[in-house]
Symmetry: C2
Subunit: 148 residues, 2 copies
């Protein structure tokens, strides 16, 4: 987590204020100070995997005044808007992924680290027909890693 916000400048090129504001507006969300700050952290620096707690710590560390409850709210709103994907890999915490495209994950249980597996490399074959009255919503592949 190297991302850092500056008092009077935007963290990276990828998400300037205007673009982020527009992005939130399109999602039907008011571009409040808190949402803009969180969006800048999330979308300003490539693909990221965050927990609510971690994002809150990061926001506060970067000088932003934002409550944990608001971070939870924002993460769920962003997910509803399709800006984030929610991942169930750990059972105890919920991860959010800024990469909403179809891809899979490495998960290092010992330190809770989550990484993208380059899309396109993994193929899942031989899926049976889903049970009657059901359809496949999504296939999650989690490759669990351990340190040698």
């Amino acid at each position: 987590m190297i991302t850092r916000a500056f008092p009077h400048r935007i963290p990276t090129t990828a998400g300037n204020d205007a673009a982020l504001t527009e992005r939130l507006r399109v999602a039907g969300l008011r571009p409040t100070r808190q949402r803009l700050a969180l969006a800048a952290l999330l979308f300003g620096a490539g693909d990221r995997h965050v927990t609510a707690e971690a994002l809150h710590v990061e926001a506060v560390a970067s000088g932003e005044r934002v409550s944990l409850a608001t971070v939870y709210n924002a993460l769920h709103q962003f997910r509803h808007a399709g800006l984030l994907r929610e991942l169930a890999v750990d059972g105890t915490r919920t991860y959010f992924d800024t990469n909403t495209s179809n891809h899979n994950h490495y998960f290092v249980e010992s330190d809770g680290e989550l990484m993208d597996i380059p899309s396109g490399s993994i193929r899942v074959d031989g899926l049976p027909e889903p049970p009657a009255g059901m359809k496949i919503a999504h296939i999650d592949v989690v490759v669990r890693l351990v340190k040698i």
Copy 2:
């Protein structure tokens, strides 16, 4: 969850007292009344997916005196002993699977139902090399289903 224990008889043929006792002993666990009862429910009737809460309800319903804390203890001890596999599919609850062999799962989010996908049908290809210093411990494939 059709499994049911009878007051004075063992639930199914698959797990008679002697066999279950032996199984626990081999795992280094004293065959206490509670562990035997839980083992009978878990291993007496084919492959099962349970949460601690659900197993506790089931045990109590079958007339067994056992606390929820003991159910949690037993589930984790059984997992350590390799009798169960722990699954992270849901984020809020932890599921335990009596089928410890290599297989994958359907998960119906709307009602929290978890089903085995027949082993052998799914193939995962094109796995990249794991990052340096890491090795693959396990690959979990969860096919998320929605009702049509």
